[in-house]
Amino acid sequence: MKDLSLLVFLPTLGAAALLFIPRRQTSALFKAALGVSLLAFLQSLWILWRFDPNTGAMQLVERLRWIPAYGIEYAVGIDGLSLFLVLLTAFLTPVAILASWTIHDRVKEYLFFMLFLETGMLGALVAVDLFLFYVFWEVMLVPMYFLIGVWGGERRIYAAVKFVIYTMAGSLLMLVGIIFLATRNFQVTQSLTFDLLRISNLNLPYDEQMWLFLAFALSFAIKVPLFPLHTWLPDAHVEAPTAGSVILAGVLLKMGTYGFLRFAIPLFPAAALSAAPWVVALAVVGIVYGAMVAMMQDDLKKLVAYSSVSHLGFVMLGLFAFNLQGIEGAVYQMLNHGLSTGALFLIVGMIYDRRHTRLIDDFGGLWKQIPIFSGFFLVVTLSSIGLPGLNGFVGEFLILLGAFATAPIWTAIAATGVVLGAITMLWMFRRVVFGPLARPENQRLEDMNAREICMLAPIIALIFFMGIYPQPFLSRMKSSARLVIERVESQKLAIPLIQGETVWEEKAARGN
């Protein structure tokens, strides 16, 4: 087993090992799970160390024949687009396990699913065989379904079932798309393969691209979630246990945007180009809508959930700008959102554990009582609204810069979303942390303990680091992002020939 496979399957091995620990020894179970996830994190750092920033191609590739009759391989690899998402996943899992220490029910199964989920996420991020990707993509679904459905809040069953059915609705059509793509590739090249790199050389006619793009994009858009396919998200987030929300917001939603970047756009560039205006419009609607609905919420978790809809709209906007700033900004923003929103969910979880309420009106004046908590909360809030010097700013700035070049009007509207988001978050923060400490229950609150500081401190450190010194991140994304852009650019001239009149025709004419 080489580096990437080791990383992917380490958590599963750990999950299997948990089965041999008696279920009563909860603390041993927690420690074992934490240890395994930390090992996986170390392994991801080792992969970062071995990563060559000078190439945009897939690295550390491993290939094994899996189902030779169908040309299906176990093929994994990593490039600048997936590298940091892999790191983020490996980083957030131990944090999520730390956050789960307050779980007392069925700890063994809980940790088992948590580690199994990590394998699914990492596998989906490194798979370069379409079949393998689909397998991991679906594998992610099952543990999350259990995490929400067993350990979630009151309406957990509704939320869990809705989550699965929404996601399956998209992905089953993607499965047919994958099969169709492989069949097409066979007809053209006479070799049966599901290898992404080989299939992406296929130049499909425009209308086939369009259908396939729709099949893939639906699946990813549900996961993102792009407006108006977002309705599963607030339910899932609100009902999930804290760690579930952290993973859901931190990693699972990124699978949607990552899917666009890795599959939908490079495989069907012409279709992506002509769908871009629609996607951008939906993304911007999502940005503004998400921020406005978030503002109305009186439940902290719902507020954060809706603000995710808004933030992921930005990521989509950046992706469909099809230029370096846009895509780099989008990937950067995926990481930022994973950290900031993950941290926000942790924070909401902490006060929920103490007070068993998440209603904003039940708080106020917390700074006087629990200053460490409030300080952490402040940094995370500011990071979430994109204050310069913190991570969020870099991503949003790059996205707006990139998007402005292709869709100036939509970008202008999106920028109002930044303001709306800032108002929402600051208003929320003010109502929770400042003002008089009126409620007697809040006067007995305890500040963060060592475990909780251990959870948040590394996130805060990264928030500052990524805000001040983004270069090491961006430089590793650049080459891979360029490859995607080149693929799209190469289609800009081709489109008018197939489709007739488009926006790009004018651009091409001006270029000549």
């Binding site: 030779p68 594998v139 379904y145 059915i165 047919v176 169709f180």
Partner: protein, 479 residues
């Protein structure tokens, strides 16, 4: 005339075991009836060993009306395995219900004998004989729990509908014989080829009648009305046996007769079978959603799965044949397993089959819960389990032969099925209460059967390559 009887050995061995068990049953005291289980299992194992030993002998018996080609070999092993798992999961069941054990095992063996004959038959008459041997045994098994009123009703219904289907089949065979002058499949096929013109109306009628007869046996919509009542009324192990083995036997016939011998006529029957597939998937899934008993839900879901299998028939050719055989394998593992868990919930005379009886099972009986969750996820088509891989090849065969619409309808149907399969998991892991389920100590055989099904479901999902090769090999050995 020289007669080569070697290809008959495996099926003859099953028949002999059945007869031996029948005779022994008279002498074995009631307490020692467990011996019959062992005799049946050993008999099945020996038959399996013989089949493996003879797998390369392409010989046929009785002027090639019976073949032991790789196709027959595949299904022989399939039916032997299904019968063995059925017997393993019945041991506790027959004791609790006081069904007469001797007859029970004997009838299962006889049914398996008939099925093997069906898969090996290269002649329509022999196919029919196999089908009737199987059917009559299963009619009796359906009603064998005589204390139960539903059982008698189910057996009656099954028998009447079965006789009806037999009529269609036999009339169809007669018409085929009348127009082609033979019942031997090879001669029928060659009679089709020469002129290449429009086949005669009589022949087509015959073909469609055979099609309808088989559609009854696999419970394709609209020939499915008997299924829910019969499946519910029959003893649960027999329900499993029907859902898996009887269906597979009919599909074996379908593969040999239609996908192979009558494939020149594919242009004629593709459209009706396609309609049949779409109807079967959709009706099966939609109605399954509204069921309140898990056993009925599984009955309707098995209708839906017959619909998925029909996709392979529409696709046809090697791709369709391979997908069909592979899907049958994984379908067998997960369906037998799911029914076995249902059996494990049985408590005395009470069948615990409502959704509510599954409540909390996941934590009360972790193994049963885990196994059932696995079977449900696999039936719903989650990777990396057998059900997913099977569906993948089914859909692939549809796409490669240009039936993308069928693949999409199949995929949407899988989504529908998620709704009711997840309901079981919701019950097991997210609700409290419900029935207990047997422990290992009380039902070791049953647990063994479930474990085998679990391993099969995972193995076919994670390492499908060997089974795929086997399926392709089996299908392409048809000549």
């Amino acid at each position: 005339m020289e007669t080569n009887l070697t290809p008959l050995l495996p099926s003859a061995e099953v028949l002999l075991t059945a007869l031996a068990a029948l005779v022994l049953d008279l002498f074995v005291p009631k307490k020692e009836k467990g011996l019959l289980v062992w005799i049946s299992l050993v008999g099945l194992a020996i038959a399996g060993g013989m089949a493996v030993f003879l797998r390369d002998g392409q010989g046929g018996a009785f002027q090639n009306t019976i073949l032991l080609d790789r196709f027959a070999f595949f299904f022989t092993l399939f039916f032997l395995g299904a019968a063995a798992l059925t017997i393993l999961s019945s041991v506790q069941y027959v004791r609790e219900t006081e069904i007469r054990e001797g007859e029970f095992y004997v009838l299962v063996l006889l049914a398996a004998f008939g099925m093997i004959l069906m898969a090996a038959a290269n002649d329509l008459i022999l196919f029919f004989l196999g089908l009737e041997t199987m059917s009559i045994a299963v009619y009796v098994l359906t009603g064998i729990w005589r204390e139960r009123a539903e059982a008698a009703e189910a057996a009656m219904k099954y028998f009447l509908i079965g006789a009806f289907a037999t009529g269609f089949l036999l009339y169809g065979i007669a018409l085929i014989y009348g127009t082609t002058g033979s019942t031997q499949l090879a001669r029928v096929a060659s009679a089709l080829k020469p002129d290449g013109g429009q086949p005669s109306l009589l022949l087509l009628t015959g073909v469609f009648l055979v099609l309808i007869g088989l559609a009854f046996k696999v419970a394709a919509v609209p020939f499915h009305f008997w299924v829910p009542d019969v499946y519910e009324g029959a003893p649960t192990p027999i329900t499993a046996f029907m859902a898996v083995a009887v269906k597979a036997a009919a599909f074996a016939g379908w593969a040999r007769i239609f996908l192979h011998s009558l494939s020149p006529l594919q242009g004629e029957w593709t459209v009706p079978v396609k309609a049949l597939a779409i109807l079967t998937m959709t009706v099966g899934n939609v109605v399954a959603i509204s069921q309140s008993s898990v056993k009925r839900m599984l009955a309707y879901s098995s209708i839906a799965h017959a619909g998925y299998l029909l996709i392979a028939l529409v696709a046809g050719g090697a791709a369709g044949g391979q997908a069909l055989l592979f899907y049958l394998l994984s379908y067998a593992a997960m369906t037998l397993g799911a029914f076995a868990v249902l059996i494990a919930l049985k408590d005395g005379a009470r069948d615990n089959e409502a959704y509510g009886d599954f409540a909390g099972l996941g934590f009360k009986r972790p193994f049963l819960g885990m196994a059932m969750a696995l079977f449900m996820l696999s039936l719903a088509g989650f990777p990396p389990l057998g059900g997913f891989t099977g569906k993948f090849y089914l859909f692939s065969s549809a796409v490669t032969t240009g039936h993308v619409d069928l693949a999409i309808i199949g995929a949407l149907n899988s989504l529908l099925s998620v709704v009711y399969y997840l309901r079981v998991i919701v019950m097991m892991y997210m609700e409290e209460g419900g029935a207990e389920g047997k422990s290992f100590a009380r039902a070791p055989y049953l647990y063994l059967a479930i474990a085998v099904a679990v391993l099969g479901t995972i193995y076919l999902g994670v390492f499908p390559a060997p089974a795929l090769d086997l399926s392709l090999n089996a299908f392409s050995s048809l000549r």
